[in-house]
């Protein structure tokens, strides 16, 4: 089966510019997650979707970050305007079942963002 697809692989922007990341989860997976991983740290959840509804966005900096999951499949994560501290790898993951039940999480290759 195809894995989680993410694009672009790398992105370099200047501060105050905007950027968007795209994710296509594994077919049939109900839950989709966006994680931010800063160098040397573990991934930190930004937002969690169950089908096309938001389950948890408590750690999403909503003044600059936004995300949507149209039709319960693909998802986009946007940053506008970007700050230097947003430099990180943005990871998309999907899971078969809703989080309360629990199922293995599968990650895409991530998008490495550098803000200069």
């Amino acid at each position: 089966e195809a894995g989680v697809a993410q694009s672009p692989r790398y992105k370099i922007i200047e501060k105050r510019q905007s950027v968007a990341f795209w994710c296509n989860p594994i077919s049939g997976h109900a839950t989709l997650y966006w994680y931010q991983q800063i160098l040397g740290q573990g991934p930190k959840l930004l937002i969690q979707f169950q089908n096309n509804g938001v389950v948890d966005d408590s750690q999403l900096p909503k003044d600059r970050f936004s995300a949507e999951r149209l039709k319960g499949v693909d998802s986009t994560l946007k940053i506008q305007p970007a700050k230097l501290e947003d430099s990180a790898v943005y990871l998309c993951a999907s899971g078969l079942y809703r989080a309360a039940v629990g199922s293995p999480l599968h990650f895409g290759n991530g998008t490495r963002l550098t803000v200069t």
Binding site: G42, P43, L45, A99, A100, G102, P104, L105
Partner: protein, 110 residues
């Protein structure tokens, strides 16, 4: 929220050696997973193991939920085992997401 602590933070092994990585969590969990992040940054799911023991080749994992810890065993280590190993856990209430530890960085040298 739940706290996840991993030890040791760094580990250097000679090829062929065995190792044990530990993950402690602060609350009861219904979801415990181990991941390997390779030097290219890709995160691979190794085990979904909220309780009990599982084995996959040279890797095995054990979670003792009542004592709030999980162990990952690597036997006969190979250079391709190098990378960062993450433990992630979530509590059994609502749709709480997985919380990741800081990882154990493993270097296997030939």
């Amino acid at each position: 929220g739940i706290q996840v602590e991993q030890s040791p933070p760094d580990l250097i092994l000679q090829e062929g050696a065995n190792s044990t990585l530990r993950c402690n969590f602060s609350d009861s969990v219904n979801n415990l997973q181990w991941f390997h992040q390779n030097p290219w940054g890709q995160l691979i799911n190794l085990f979904y193991i909220p309780s009990g023991t599982k084995q996959n080749g040279r890797l095995s994992a054990t979670t003792v939920a009542t004592e709030r810890y999980s162990l990952l065993y690597i036997s006969s280590s190979q250079t391709t085992d190098s990378g960062v190993y993450f433990c992630a856990a979530s509590r059994p209430s609502g749709n709480t997401p997985l919380v990741f530890g800081k990882g154990t960085r493993l270097s296997v040298i030939a």
